[in-house]
Symmetry: D2
Subunit: 280 residues, 4 copies
């Protein structure tokens, strides 16, 4: 193949016979070659989800037309991305920097195929870290949450942001903001959800005496800590660890779980399926 370009296609529609055949036919028509493919039918919702990574030497427009035409009868939701054009992520933080530092190190190291045009915070604490990694930092100071979110929306528009990563951002977003960016805000929560929602999760875990603690990366919805889960992990703890020890162990979980979720998103592997996610 001359000058092959790699694309990632995601497609969602109501399940019906022939969707896979239609997609694979479209790719064949543009002399494409499938590199990776995943598909899933949710028997409860009847939604068919699919992700295909393929290469072809055709232009973006030709590729999109081929797929859209071939699948039109299924009225699908389609995303198509030239793999070289990375997703754009806005990172938001408050005081704690462990997730931020981890994401920026991985990004600099080539582990996270995303663009990070800016870091936004409600505090100035993390400005130095941002500077060290050469990412613009904006400290939003506003007299109200509405004003702050208006500024934030301005930034999101200006920078053509695809996804907002809440890397230990300790503010609750308004219902309308959550609705506007459904499936586009990833939060890391410091517990194994649905256990220990809200604040002071490690203290809650300590008091309950659990034998494993966890972290959860999820999409943000208006209902606090109830959004679709992307990734979770746990670590064993024991009675002789204090709440502070749990917090320290938990920081490792938070870092890794958030990084995995961001990487999955960056590779278009996370599809919404009602209150759940499909991960390819």
């Amino acid at each position: 193949m001359e000058n092959p370009v790699r694309y990632i296609l995601t497609l969602r529609c109501l399940d019906a016979p022939g969707v896979i055949h239609a997609v694979s036919g479209a790719i064949l028509d543009i002399s494409g070659n499938i590199l990776e493919q995943g598909q899933f039918t949710d028997e409860h919702t009847g939604i068919f989800s699919m992700r295909t990574r393929f290469e072809t030497s055709r232009t973006d427009i030709a590729v999109f037309s081929a797929v859209a035409d071939a699948t039109a009868r299924y009225s699908p939701l389609i995303t198509l991305r030239n793999e070289a054009v990375q997703r754009r992520a806005l990172i938001m933080v408050s005081h704690e920097d462990h997730c931020l530092v981890d994401l920026l190190y991985r990004h600099a190291n080539g582990e996270l195929p995303i663009d990070i045009p800016m870091i936004v915070s409600n505090h100035a604490t993390c400005a130095a870290v941002a500077e060290q990694y050469g990412i613009p930092f904006t400290h939003i100071t506003a007299s109200s949450k509405e004003e702050a979110e208006a500024q934030l929306k301005g930034i999101i528009d200006d920078l053509a942001v695809d996804v907002i990563i809440l890397a230990r951002y300790m503010q609750i977003l308004t219902e309308s903001f959550c609705a506007d960016f459904l499936g586009r805000i990833i939060n890391i929560h410091h517990s194994f959800l649905p256990g220990f929602k809200g604040a002071r999760a490690y203290h809650q875990a300590f008091e309950r005496g659990v034998k494993l603690i966890g972290a959860t990366a999820h999409f943000v919805t208006a209902e606090l800590d109830e959004g679709p889960i992307i990734e979770q992990d746990v670590e064993r703890v024991s009675h002789n660890q204090t709440a502070e020890d749990l917090a320290q162990i938990g920081r490792d979980l938070e870092r890794v779980v958030l990084a995995r979720a961001v990487r999955l998103y960056a590779e278009d592997r996370v599809l919404l399926d009602g209150k759940r996610t499909v991960i390819f």
Copy 2:
């Protein structure tokens, strides 16, 4: 040492300097040798917990006197057990037999150092399994929960039962029964508590879209699924597993987590510490 006998001592008291020294002195006085020891001070409750396994050729009474005298000034709660005299466990089940079969297989195989004088059920389903392993089986049929529990208490007294193991027993015990046997009833719950309390935990987990499912062994208290946790574990699941798949994977977790908890109890390794447990 001539005819050494192995003992397990547990001791709880308010923390004060000198407890370990007092215990180790008592053991030295009876020409004992410490084989294993664990101790823990809970800074929140101020409770000091300790477990010592030692051998000596003295009689039970001599051993108990030595320890009790040496530690009297700390007003401790003491348990002392000749390791050869196993804890007596009553197993209770309903319809599902996977935990029961697992416990009985391990018991027959020498993996669980407990006596199982009887299996009790609110159904006849598991009678065949009990018979196969040669354990007496009692099907309690009573017109009310109070009557059933009265029968149960009779059995517990008659058989000198130390601990009641709810191996997927699908009835809720009364508040007074729970209070009478505080720290002596072990339940296996089919979720990673505190998530998904109550019934149909795997369906709840499926609907929430968690990426790991779990099981929890805990002491039973009057508050449903809120008792002190003894052991937990989790297993990874994905979007393409149904609630029934989760239940099947979960059965493996339930078996292993309950067996671990019973073994810990059988070796006097589980000490209550308020709403939490200390595991030595």
Copy 3:
């Protein structure tokens, strides 16, 4: 769909554009509906592997013809199975019965969709367990390994066995036997391979002082403990556990890892790919 029948197709060929399209076209031509599909291209070997589960109301022969015709130009290796016709597994054991009991319990419980026409052993020890679960048991007594394997081959032919499960079978099979049944013998090894090959794996693990022990289910080849790995898992251990403790913890790993591997095989999810496996 009237009287739908569920099929599982596996296909392996050299990677080339159009295979997925050809298969999905064949399924569409027989009015089939894809329920589940996985595919993988190994960039090192150039082998494309695929597994498709679909339903159609056509006969086995019509389905096979459709797929074979549509994919003929790729010269694939194809297996097609009516899901209702289960794989036939011969279980082989020696003295230890923990894996056997586990497989039989799961089988009786509906967790393992395989047929078990017979249990074969070089000892009589497990005859009682086989009887209890109503599976024929054959104790092979032969004067030489060659004679024993000749008897075994007779049984395999007579019973139309698809796969041989070595559930703690403590004999080494001959090179020629391994070659004859390549990809059709599953062994459970009591270590995390490639560590601790051969006998007394838990003693080796104890002496090396590892902090996790494992178990490995793998296809058997003539090279001892070097066959393609199907599944592995590990459990944490510590310095205060003896080699016997490790063996006990390890038995839980062996049970679960072997059961998972057998289930994967029973659902045609395990494809050989050189010295590795592809698991769909």
Copy 4:
């Protein structure tokens, strides 16, 4: 207690009755209070190991004398450390900086109670990271391994280094250097030892087709990758991950496993016991 000082005592001797009593007596004599204690008797080697953390208002010399006098008859190996006087760690690296950055971030963040007086490397690559965290960096350039190790020993003496951390240091140390610093060099190996010793461990793991990859922190001895293991962990992988993917996942394991091992060492929790370690 007025001006309490916290001490950590470790003690090793041949097992004999009365050691715990002697130590607890000594601590009581200096009006000390035990905060944490662990002990272990290795039945194979006959070695008794113990770690006690306690507080007292006496001076270091008084504390040491009390313990040494009380235990003299057991001829123990004793270490006693005022908890406020941290262990001094020399970090050695080559090109890859992921473990180094992780250790330095944790150190700056207060998670690793050690002093890091210097970073030494056989390359200049990591000088910038060292500078960023304000730690002196020495690039050793020598014409032979012997000369390089002579320089290294000079540094170790000058800086009173307790432990050398090989944070992905890609040189093999000489037998005599390993012998001189037995139990004082911690290496992170990028596999689950004893599997995949030596170089290119992730490529070895990929080729073997393992389903889990691991990392191992161990003390360095003259025999490559055979030293006593301190900590290990694993992560699940699958057939569709390349050797490079394994390396990326493995970096997370290496970071966490090394950090845990360093923290254990920093808190005097790691005791050598022949070819194994005791971890309190």
